[in-house]
Amino acid sequence: MKEKPATVFVVDDDDAVRTSLRLLLKSVGLPVETFASAQEFLDGFDAERAGCLVLDIRMPGMSGLELQQRLNEIHAIVPIVFITGHGDVPMAVEAMQHGAVDFIQKPFRDQDLIDRINQALEKDRDNRAGLKERDAIRRRMQQLTPREREVLDLVTQGKANKVIAGDLNVSQRTVEIHRARVMEKMGASSLAHLVRMVIEAGRAS
């Protein structure tokens, strides 16, 4: 599987801002792509690509807040750092309520922006690692037989083998065998590990 490096996507209608941000980010070795409008970014949006979004809050056409809303509607996880003008408190609050990771107010120091972008990229890495882990657990769970799945549910509810044997009307020895297979297929090193995986898999993604 080929993966492009994490990219900083800059969306700003101001040519001068786009150019200066491109130069700034390149100078610190961050891959950057710029877009002159929210629509242009959305048209080329690929949820698989790692990175973060640096987004001007006020733009003609689709605003930064509207783009955030559109991305939320398609459950995009790309972290957003908003660039805002002075006195945009209500917009800042609204964007935070909708999951923005950060804000930077114009005029800003270059280093401040770079720090925030690095934090956003780290968050994206964490989010993606979490999603990957969840997918892997779900795939392993799908490999369980229906009976193994039942045993998994009962084991992770904290029931003892003897109780499970009673619940499923099988011998305790049979439960032990199923349980060992569940542990093996799930790659679980302990009951606690197994429980953690089941909780992780149950999370909405």
């Binding site: 209500p90 935070m96 804000f103």
Partner: protein
């Protein structure tokens, strides 16, 4: 019979106390008003409100500190901060700390109703 849901207003300004208090009562809430965070925190064990509306600059602590104090006590009460001299970074900080909303004075009525009305409804539905 269940009593009206309690909302606490923490703000030293009498005009805000009056107008916010009237608005919240009109929405059907029972309102208690405090001028300082300390007075409000002192009565907390006896009555936990469904929502707190607090000025972000209280005489004895900031609204964010009050929010953090509530969380430290294990109370996840929805908290709305009000501010007369808001800036973007203060607003962002408040939202990060877990504020439900951060509203600029003096035009707070509409935003306050938007946030509080669902809380009062939700609370009614949850009542047994």
């Amino acid at each position: 019979m269940r009593q009206a849901a309690l909302i606490c207003v923490v703000d030293p300004d009498p005009a805000t106390q009056r107008s916010v208090g009237a608005l919240l009562r009109a929405l059907g809430a029972e309102v208690e008003v405090y001028a300082t965070a300390r007075e409000f925190l002192a009565q907390l064990p006896s009555a936990v409100p469904v929502c707190v509306v607090a000025e972000s600059r209280l005489p004895d602590m900031t609204g964010i500190a009050l929010l953090q104090e509530l969380r430290a006590r294990g109370l996840k009460i929805p908290t709305i901060l009000l501010s007369a001299d808001a800036d973007v970074s203060g607003a962002v900080q408040a939202m990060r700390a877990g504020a439900l909303d951060f509203i600029e004075k003096p035009y707070i009525d509409r935003a306050l109703v938007t946030q509080v009305a669902p809380i009062l409804d939700v609370d009614d539905h949850r009542a047994h």
